[in-house]
């Protein structure tokens, strides 16, 4: 393939925090409808805001202003993290708004709650993406045109759905097992709908920052911005596009401030602009700037997680499948329900993190894998989540009963009506009897009553007892005639 001489580099940062669940016991079912561990959520958010979001945003804003339009970055903020900003750290949202106002920052669309809807339900997926777009529009004042899926989960089919929704490009992992001999350093397109361009993560350059930066045993330690720029420059001869996709918490949280990560971040734009022919671009700009070299075939879903780069971290065991099945079995009913609290809980329960905590594949290497994992074991995570989901289901049923239940309810209602009419009938009989007996008392007439009716009267009316006893002895059939 011929090189056009155009070169682009794309930095994209993922920002996400889930609403972690509190310890929810089964005996809370039906009583307690608040599921979140506010203390943990707030303290984690405050900590990460102080250590990462605020200082990193400040540096980026400074670099954008300094480099006068030559430095651009891309963010993806999940709906959940935006909601947490609003609750616990509004100043962070403000600083993102400032970044958005420079016009040098692109914000991507994704599912509102960082969910796994893309591997379960297309309708739910599309609904969540639309919800997220609206949220970004509302809080950041921009319209997303490119897409990233939860944990960069991607397959040809997911890509085609995203294309149908009108997005221009999508990010995913440059996984070795799907690329083979191909290089991630070019622009590709979806194999079903070529209008959607696919940007592949260069995992070597990305992980250099994310995982190896503070590893003092690494042969390349310490990593400086200049060194990093020379590596990128080496790629220039054989690439058009370099994609560095990172969790934003890489700066200040996974790599502490003391490791020099913020200095690296501050010097990186200048070094790349000076030492390499690459231009900073956002995904939407890349799509207009570069031509795709070919379509990329990814029939089964990949992600950026773990060595396997697949989706087994979220749906690799029976626990996760069971929980996902249960969750998505409720989606139809949630759609029929219009209670705001139900909708909100539904959104929070979607977060892929809940399923990640249930992963058992990390047992083998014993690695403490999950970041801020509130559970001791995957089993704990599953039990807690299922308890919460059970309560959610109970509440949901109150709003939207099962069709079967509806039938039963109407049956019971009919039965109730029948009984009621029977009671009416009997009580009217009773009244008339009572009236008669009273008149009889004064008139001293005689009449008879059916024995069963007499029994009812004994039970129902204490004042009528005497009269009933009396009437038993009488012989007339007036009541019957009255009917």
């Amino acid at each position: 393939m011929s090189l056009t001489g155009k070169k682009a580099i794309c930095f994209y940062f993922q920002v996400h925090q889930p609403f972690r669940l509190k310890r929810y016991r089964f005996f809370d079912l039906g009583h307690d409808h608040y599921y979140y561990d506010d203390f943990t959520n707030e303290s984690i958010m405050r900590k990460v805001a102080e250590k990462c979001y605020l200082p990193a945003n400040e540096i980026l804003l400074d670099q954008i202003i300094r480099n006068k339009g030559k430095f651009k970055v891309t963010f993806s903020l999940t709906g959940l993290v935006i909601k947490q900003f609003r609750l616990y750290a509004p100043e962070v949202l403000e600083s993102f708004r400032n970044l958005a106002d420079t016009g040098m920052v692109e914000f991507l669309a994704e599912t509102e709650s960082h969910s796994l809807a893309s591997i379960r339900s297309r309708t739910e997926f599309e609904r969540q993406v639309e919800a997220h777009k609206a949220l970004i529009r509302e809080h950041l004042g921009v319209e997303p045109t490119s897409f990233r899926n939860t944990e960069l989960i991607y397959s040809d089919q997911i890509g085609s759905w995203v294309a149908d929704m009108g997005f221009k490009s999508i990010m995913t992992e440059g996984a070795k097992h799907v690329l083979g001999w191909k290089s991630p350093n070019f622009l590709y397109c979806n194999s079903i709908n070529p209008r959607l361009k696919v940007l592949l993560r260069n995992f070597v350059l990305s992980d250099d920052i994310a995982f190896r930066f503070s590893n003092t045993n690494w042969s390349e330690w310490p990593l400086t911005a200049d060194k990093y720029a020379t590596w990128i420059n080496k790629l220039a001869a054989k690439s058009e596009l370099v994609n560095v996709f990172l969790d934003y918490e890489t700066f200040g949280e996974h790599n502490r401030k003391e490791t020099g990560i913020f200095d690296f971040l501050a010097h990186m734009p200048g070094a790349i602009l000076k030492k390499t022919p690459f231009k900073f671009m956002t995904p939407t700009e890349v799509v207009d700037y570069l031509q795709p070299v070919s379509a990329i075939n990814i029939p089964s879903p990949i992600s950026w997680a773990d060595e396997e780069r697949d989706i087994t971290a979220w749906c690799g065991n029976e626990l996760q499948s069971a929980a996902l099945d249960k969750l998505y079995s409720l989606s139809e009913k949630v759609r029929m329900c219009d209670d705001a609290q139900i909708k909100k809980d539904w959104e929070y329960l979607q977060a892929s993190d809940h399923f990640y905590y249930m992963a058992t594949k990390f047992f083998s290497d014993g690695a403490v894998h999950a970041y801020f994992n509130p559970y001791d074991t995957p089993y704990d995570a599953f039990m807690n989540y299922m308890n919460v989901l059970s309560d959610f289901e109970i509440r949901l049923k109150r709003f939207v009963p099962d069709s079967q239940e509806v039938n039963e309810m109407s049956k019971l209602n009919n039965l109730l009506k029948e009984k009621e009419s029977l009671i009416d009938q009997l009580s009217s009989e009773l009244d008339s009897l009572r009236k008669n007996s009273r008149t009889k008392k004064t008139a001293k007439g005689t009449r008879t009553i059916e024995p069963s009716l007499a029994g009812n009267m004994l039970l129902l009316s204490s004042s009528g007892t005497k009269t009933a006893k009396k009437s038993k002895t009488s012989t007339t059939t007036r009541t019957r005639k009255k009917k």
Partner: protein, 432 residues
Amino acid sequence: MRVLMFGWEFPPHISGGLGTASFGLTKGMSTLEDLEVIFVVPKAWGDEDQTKVRLIGANKVPVAFKQVHYKGFKRPIEQIEISSKIVPYTDPEQYYQKINSETTGHKLVVQTNNEGTIDFSGRYDTSLMDEIYKYSVVAAVIAQENDFDIIHAHDWLAYPAGIAAMEVSGKPLVIHVHATDFDRSGGNVNPDVYQIEKMGMDAASKIITVSNLTRDIVINKYNIDPEKVETVYNAVEPVKLSGDADINKGFDDKVVTFLGRITMQKGPEYFIEAANKVLKMMPNVRFVMAGSGDMMERMMRRAAALNITDRFHFTGFLKGKDVFNMLSISDVYIMPSVSEPFGISPLEAMQSNVPVIISKQSGVSEILTHAVKTDFWDIDAMADAIYAILNYPALSKMFIKNGKEEVVRLKWDNSARHVRDIYYRVIWQNKN
């Protein structure tokens, strides 16, 4: 290498974890070619499985001479005749009966019978202290008559025997702590037992504990140098599930089982309270407390007070096949022990395809991944776990599948190899 090993019981005459563990270990050792084990128990019944080890019963050893070179006990040998009423460690059934029948203390004297051997009951009972000392006398005789490189004594009952053998032979002593009196007594430590335990630990060249939990107790409560104490985890004998259990469940309800001595150490009251919480939320479940012990009556009264007796069942002490039958109809196995040095029984439950809930205060929780672990006092967590396993089939399936894989890897051969390494180190140390 020849090992002279002192135990207290040997299958099939066992009453608790000690016999199971020491048998498993010796069986594992028999697979190692360079080890030869002579296992000594106070009483050999004659029907023990001796294919793997050579078993010597102390009751079969003629005590022809009484002047054994022997020192280091608080009482001279002549005073062994003094009968003692201390009941430090009892077979649950016997202990239970004993308390109920109010047996008055009976006197035992060391008597050689007409063959010149000492009679042992081979049981845990009121004359236990006498037996322990009688045992040590015979141990000295055995030590003189046999050739060996190292001595290994299981639990405090056998420590005096081990020490006696050590003093006679000059060979190094390794003691194996399966439990301490802190575990058994729930805090009311018997000073006589403590003294024997402490004496054994001080005399030994190396102390093997069955978990780090026990190791910490040995280091902190008995003031032993941490260097001297090493953990060797227990394992479990593989069993073949016959598939056709003798009993079928005659009902559709789920079954949650507690299996063990009903004593303070095992935490039965937490099980009842957790059961009560579960029963408030779901009706179709039954709880079984299988075993006996000094707290059984109290537990029955508690179940009655909570008004759950229609769903909470007591079976009494279960043995042999009944245990497996019980496990085969169980949906959850729970061990809420307050203090459990190891606890092999959850491993047996896992072998029988039963998900287990264990307390964090058990040694076995240090090695198990695929089990629910809660604090023994956390009845909320326990109840929650029971509910989850019964109601979320995926969870139960995962526990069964992964638990089985995990438990298969816990082999006595590995424990035996670890113990062998310790022997070599001790012998090497002793030479230098």
